[in-house]
Amino acid sequence: MKTETRTSLGVGASAPRPDGALKVAGAFAYASDLWLDGMLWGATLRSPHPSAWIRSIDVGPALALPGVFAVLTHEDVPGAKFYGLEHADQPVLAVDQVRYQGEPVAIVAADHPETARRAAAAVVVEYEVRAAVTDARRAALDPACPLVHPGGNVVRHQPVRAGSAGSGAEVVVTGEYEVGMQDQAFLGPEAGLAVPADDGGVDLYVATQWLHVDRDQIAPCLALPEDKVRLTLAGVGGAFGAREDLSMQIHASMLALRTGRPVKIVYGREESFFGHVHRHPAWMRYEHGATADGRLVYVKAEIVLDGGAYCSSSPAVVGNAASLGVGPYEVENVWIDAYAAYTNNPPCGAMRGFGAVQACYAYESQMDRLAAACGLSPVEIRVRNAVSQGSRLATGQVIDSPAPLAAMLGELAAMPLPGPPAYAPSGSRRQGGSGARARGMIGTREEPDPRRLPGGVGRTTRGEGVRRGVGYGVGIKNICFSEGFDDYSTARVRVELLGGEPHALVHTAAAEVGQGLVAVQAQIARTELGVDRVTVAPADTSVGSAGSSSASRQSYVTGGAVKAACEAVRRRLEALAAADPGLSLGELLDRYGPVEETREYRHRPTVPLDPVTGQGDSHTQLALCVHRAVVDVDVELGLVKVVELAAVQDVGRILNPLALEGQIHGGSAQGLGLALLEEIQMRDGRVLNPSFTDYLIPTILDMPPMRLSILENPDPNAPYGLRGAGEPPTLSSTPAVAAAVRAATGLALPRVPIRPEDIALAHTG
């Protein structure tokens, strides 16, 4: 085979995404756009109560409505009545009790979506309301707390014990920290279309993160063998963990099998808030002991996560919070207890950062307190304790690939700071002048552009009462699934002549959820095969599992599988070429026909944490990100403007620069949202803000420009040396923003999101 010229859109190029232009133009088909002639519409009746016994369900009034084809309850579930990612504790439809507001109780299929909604509302359910358990700390730690599930309220308790309990510290700082319930806030609501098949099975088109784990949970509930439940990925409008658990999959399939008609279910925006898990709220108590010169001697921590009504992925979230609970710092003596507890709040599970986010906010807050106590700068305290390659984590695991945290901090601190504030310095209230004009101010009275100031176009200040602060945050995130999980992906690659030109078809079950994996898969094929024309086939279950689009793992694991399959194809082509020297690739394919290979790729094995000591090599890869936040705070009104976020991240190897920068920007924005805005407001087990009017995600006016430095210190264990990149920025931006607000105000601010009243009240009484 003649040597091919290297393709221009291989690994390392900003290859365009096939879905990108369509999404921007509004022409991309999302799951909610699915349509089949003759299809029915499904709707879900949900519990209005966080905790209640179900005394009776009368579907008669719903069935009596014209246009209604089926009304199903738990009695109609053909197979297993319960499902779940880690434990099958969640009912397909509530059996005799409901454990959270919004829990599905009955499902309806009708010939019009509005008819389906009315029919669901016509189902008569008699509830006996029970007191709701809503305090996770009590649920976890108080033996007298009523039980949400008969087996006890503690979903998982994971200790970590290293060295000896604290002694020898010259400086001790303690703190209690709290993180509110964040939502993934994806734009595409839960949606799918179930089509009954002639073989008695079902074909399901759905927006999800992991087709095969969906299938593995759906099939038993439908009492069908796995090969009769076939899934195809439909257009996904964001995920961030919220599509890892099932939502409408079993319901639509049940309705399709019952009616013999295709059934589509699309959640509305409000329903979506009840239709997926959220990020665990956390209560964390930390104690750090250090030498007088700021070297850590010990860390003690108690971390309580609110798991809500069902297990979901809470055990793995606890594993992350425990194993990464100290952060990327060297410390001999560690005493951590991490818990997740059942409550009657909404189920909590996967969200970008997965347990590492909550701990990061707490340990970084502690590092700043320690810096102050030792008279060191925030950067210096972190540099003195920074891990590096060869460091040992609290779990005993040794970091065996590059981890240049001290250098990253140095680079971050050396980045230029943003220009002076767009207002007069504190003390002077007069505005204007040529300097102000030169900085592009708008308005008729030479006042600063309000978009640059706290409060934005609410014009709450023209600079008076505004103080600037700078803060740093450091995060460490495990990449890929941990704790002994058999984490693999499968890729099938076929090279053939299409229209006389060599063409590669890449087929995996990996879910494109917006991260850009569909582009990266094609880039890898181009690089490995030297073929320009590559198509990535739609993801479905006719190929082996790719694992989940979560844990920042798909470039690593599915990327590894595509690379391995391409290498296998290439070896066969090379063998053919050796037998037939002088032929081009096209000529070889013409003579010998298509070449196809399928490969599974696994990352290095990991082990579960020891349940008593928390020791074990539980992670396969660790990734670092550091942030610096610059904020302006109006201390009179409590309003914060993030002026700039700067970040340094080591990704091992850049596969697609444009997609990578998008990931870092997006993760940083999500972390900023947690720091200042995003919280599902809960009261007595009820969600009070299930809308994008009341659940506040950052707008472009809230998100500042970013300054990025991306490092490439390869991980020798990973394909191309890459390091998963999607989650780490989500960790470190939250504590960086919080630290900057603290620096501006001098307040402790032990809870995120930080609200205006947390600042303004403290200053004005």
Binding site: G268, G455, G456, G458, T460, E464, L688, T699
Partner: protein
């Protein structure tokens, strides 16, 4: 959503007759509030009378003031040259409300007639005296961060969400109404009710009353006016508190002042006590603070919103301080 009929009215009188003759009928303007409530099950009109295309979409100059048609869209009103020139407080209040998309469809009258906001009002599975009179108030002992600190009752602690109305109340706006009994006018400040024991009624309008226009009187010193809105997010979020103010200075003294507050009560709150305190007094930060405190002496904060008292005071002081500095 329950079934409803739809009628596009040809003229105001037809619209009034159509709604007046049907107890379950409602006017439809831009639909940005009513339609949301229909989706949530909070409102269930059986007839929608669309008034958004009535010929009420003009802004007309009156003797030194403006007459704003009820169907003028929020975006158009904010951009109107005379509004920007004579009543900058109104333009800024409009632009700080909602989002660009919403302002493009929301109408002047519809903005005034937004229902008060409370999460329990919007959640039909919870008791709410405004939605179901006599059912109880879930906000009592519940989540009250966005709720009233002034003028609330044990029956309701919701707040009015409009930014535009706060500015208009400060500007002494008058509302022109066409009802089944004919046309009348009333001061905007008197349009709104405090909840008392009938929180289901946000305004004094009777069924079938249609707002035709809003009249802004001649108020030369409103050229120096400002709107400040304190909110959680830089765009598209409701006020925690807001301040509309116009200031007329005579040297170092306050000759006249208009001051209204948003986010603090069941209605846009005209701060008459503070105004009285300020008139004729010195235009100093201390005086501004004393005036704000005089107004807020009547505040009865709830467990979740005590912060609003200090936040309102600070916002009032900052707004007046900036206006006073502009005047020097």
């Amino acid at each position: 959503m329950i079934p409803f009929e739809y009628l596009r009215a040809g003229d105001p009188a037809e619209a009034v007759a159509a709604v007046a003759g049907r107890p379950g009928a409602a006017f439809l303007g831009g639909g940005t509030n009513l339609v949301d409530h229909m989706k949530l099950g909070v409102a269930g009109p059986d007839l929608l009378v669309d008034v958004s295309r009535l010929p009420l979409d003009r802004v007309e100059e009156t003797a030194g003031g403006l007459r704003i048609g009820a169907a003028v869209r929020n975006s158009d009103l904010a951009a109107h040259p005379l509004v920007r020139e004579r009543y900058p407080v109104l333009a800024r209040a409009l632009l700080s409300g909602a989002s660009g998309q919403l302002r493009n469809v929301a109408t002047t009258a519809g903005n005034l007639l937004q229902r008060t906001r409370c999460p329990y009002f919007q959640d039909v599975t919870t008791p709410c005296n405004k939605r179901v009179p006599g059912s109880g108030c879930s906000a009592a002992g519940g989540y009250t961060r966005y709720h009233a600190i002034l003028g609330a009752s044990e029956h309701c602690v919701a707040t009015h969400p409009s930014d535009m109305a706060v500015a208009m109340v400060a500007l002494d706006a008058v509302v022109a109404v066409l009802g089944p009994g004919g046309a009348r006018t009333l001061p905007l400040a008197e349009l709104y009710r405090l909840p008392g024991d009938a929180p289901q009624r946000d305004t004094v309008l009777e069924h079938g009353d249609l707002i035709i226009a809003v009249e802004l009187p001649h108020l030369p010193f409103a050229r120096r006016s400002a709107y400040r809105k304190v909110r959680d997010r830089a765009s598209f979020s409701f006020a925690l508190v807001s301040v509309a103010a116009a200031l007329d200075l005579d040297g170092g003294l306050v000759r006249d002042v208009r001051l209204a507050l948003g986010g603090v009560a069941h209605k846009p709150w005209r701060a008459t006590r503070a105004e009285a305190e300020l008139r004729g007094g010195p235009a100093t930060e201390d005086a501004f603070r004393r005036a704000a405190e005089a107004e807020l002496a009547a505040a009865r904060p709830l467990p979740g919103n005590a912060f609003k008292v200090a936040m309102t005071r600070n916002a009032v002081v900052a707004t007046l301080r900036a206006l006073a500095e502009e005047g020097r």
